[in-house]
């Protein structure tokens, strides 16, 4: 689809960028098919697949029956048989019925067949809270899938990163869970290269350089962290890292930064206990022990069920909580 005037003048939203990556990959590779609930005629409930059925037809942009296990399981079959399926799960909470297929099958086939059968699929899932959605529409389950050997887990939060990482995910020979922070879907625009490009999976991004403390985060929390950094005194120099890929983790970027700063705060929406912050904290302890000037801190969701929306902003780590944690870590 040609870019609209708004896109030309103001850039692309996250939704636009994902849509463009899907379109370009579908043009490039006829094996790529999209399948999911409402992805066709309706263009997805977030309009991420808007217009694609018109271009590629109902055989490549497929409205499936309402069955997540069915979507994931048949996508596995399609992938095995040489297609490049991109199943969409409508919301984070509905990964539940697909869990068995994704973790016990997609993730394991390469291993259990010693590479004879591989599953090149990209699962797209809107993720995270903050949009006043109903129950099970606001969860952040990335740690569950990062903990599943055989899956790659990606969560970009900017249009440029989303386009490049999605393109990499689609071309990747293994299953990739591609989480899209829905709170950021339309929250801002930025200039995105029109031609296709890739950003390699497994590379974090240093959003801003600093020397006093490292903040590590991903997804919509990147913007809360930026707001938190704004709240700090000007002479405080924070290095902000957007992980972008959860697994495989970019250890080098993290270690280099924390060896420099000696202090680290990790921020994520998911519950603290067994959240991915725990893994990062542990890695820092293993690799930067002698550089640490303060205990590594986690600012995360509470160890509770994600509350209904009247309380969701009390649940999600906000700039105030993050800034306070940064201040305390600096003062340690």
């Amino acid at each position: 689809m040609p870019r609209t005037d708004v896109m030309k003048q103001k850039g692309l939203t996250l939704v636009d960028a994902i849509n463009e990556a899907l379109e370009q990959e579908m043009h490039r590779d006829s094996r790529v098919v999209l399948l999911g609930e409402d992805v066709g005629a309706n263009g997805g409930v977030f309009r991420v697949t808007e217009g694609l059925q018109k271009i590629f037809g109902k055989d490549r942009v497929i409205d499936t029956p309402l069955a997540e296990s069915g979507i994931m399981g048949t996508a596995i079959g399609l992938a095995m048989a040489g297609m490049r399926p991109i199943p969409e799960i409508q919301f984070d909470g509905f990964l539940g019925p697909a869990y068995d297929q994704l973790t016990n099958h997609a993730a394991r086939y390469r291993t259990r067949t010693r590479g004879a059968i591989t599953i090149p699929l990209t699962v797209r899932v809107p993720v995270g809270g903050g949009i006043h959605a109903p129950e099970l529409h606001s969860d952040s389950p990335e740690a569950i899938y990062a903990h599943t050997p055989g899956l790659k887990v990606v969560m970009p939060c900017t249009p440029v990163d989303a386009k490049g990482l999605l393109t990499s995910a689609i071309r990747d020979p293994d299953p990739v869970v591609f989480f899209e922070p829905k709170r950021v879907y339309r929250s801002f625009r930025e200039e995105v290269p029109e031609e296709e490009y890739t950003i390699p999976i497994g590379h974090a991004k240093v959003v801003s350089e600093g020397t006093d403390l490292t903040v590590i985060t991903w997804g919509a929390s990147v913007f809360e962290c930026l707001a938190a950094i704004d709240k700090l005194p000007e002479d405080v120099s924070v290095e902000l890292i957007d992980l972008r890929t959860i697994y495989p983790i970019d250890l080098d970027t993290i270690v280099q930064s924390v060896q420099k700063t000696g202090r680290c705060v990790i921020v994520h929406e998911a519950p603290k206990t067994s959240g991915f912050g725990a893994e990062i904290s542990s890695l820092i302890q293993e690799h930067c022990f002698l550089n640490l000037k303060a205990p590594v801190q986690r600012v995360a969701g509470f160890d509770t069920v994600m509350p209904y929306y009247k309380l969701e902003l009390d649940y999600l780590p906000d700039s105030k909580r993050i800034a306070e944690s940064v201040t305390q870590t600096l003062a340690y």
Binding site: E37, D38, G40, A41, N42, G43, V45, D63, P65, L66, A67, E68, S69, G70, G93, F94, G96, P97, H132, A133, P134, E135, L136, H137, V265, K272, T273, A294, P295, Q297, R298, V299, A300, G301, F302, D303, T304, V305, P307, Y308, Y309, K310, L311, E312, D314, Y315, P317, R321, E324, S325, Q328, T329, A331, Y332
Partner: protein
Amino acid sequence: MPKKSVYKAEIEYLQVMDEQGVIDAAQSRNTLSDEEILELFKFMQQCRQLDEIAFKLQRSGRMGTYPQNKGQEAAAIGTAYAAKKGQDFLVPCYRENAALFMHGLPMHYVLLHWMGDERGNQIPEGVQQLPLCIPIGTQMLHATGIAWAFKMRKEPKVALTYFGDGATSEGDFHEAMNFASVFQVPCVFICQNNQWAISVPRETQMRSKTVAQKALAYEMPTYQVDGNDLLGVYKIAKECIDRARGGGGPSFIEAVTYRLADHTTADDARRYRDQKEVDAWLGRDPLIRLRKYLETKDLWDETKQKAAEERNKAIVAEVVKTAEGIEKPSFDDIFDFTFAALNPELEKQKRTARTSSLGQDPTQVGLASGEPVHQ
């Protein structure tokens, strides 16, 4: 050896009152009296008023996403009226508010739910139902388990579970049907086939000509009924519920109805469905035919209609006031219902409103008081 037929089946479609409000005399025997029809009609109007106001609350930013029930009330009311309030158990999805209200759920609970307040799910003592269920097609297994418990304890109770046409594509639906059938539990499966699952029409959702035929695979008595016909729905539901109560096992009802509104307030159905189709169904609205019927019986007229509208407006305004008058849930609410008792870590997170260990334990950062920094 000659081939022989090993299975034959047929599914009947029932309609007792047609779109014009005309009743089939033979079919209507032992259904509802005129007095009952009048009462249920009034109740249906009240539920419709709530539904319209809920829509407006969302549009004016006073409530979150809301799925309108408009046009599907006969399926909810006909089945719920056939069940025993306070005894039988309702397991809903989210498009049968009227059934829940009929069995004792205060109306403002549904508003609270969609206002993002979990207290809308805290079903009052004695009300036999589960809260609304957002994940599609999952609740029928719970209904089967509940019915199974009734059977184990030899209680004369029945579970009724509601779900949409789309939900019958989920694996859990089929597992629920199979369990209910294998263990012959007193459960009535009620599919509100409103022709759409968000943007996916029934014909794309399944190749089956009817939803009802899915129950044949589980050897369940199964029926298709005009879901906008209160009497027809009631008649079949009564038969199914009586049979279940008497130990005759589960049944399946496909109530053929139509989603007159968008899927939810977050949806725009004009993107995927033809307005002509909607218009055709507008005339089959359950309220229209009931009113026609009652008018021919001289039980309803324009004056009564006006009075009812005023009354319903007042009732629903009061419901909205109640829902909006309830203050925001407290921060502690996030924690207090996670377990029967909070463990030390949760206790600490709640007390400090922190997950970062320094924030939880200020003595570590040299804040002598040890008091949490957060107020």
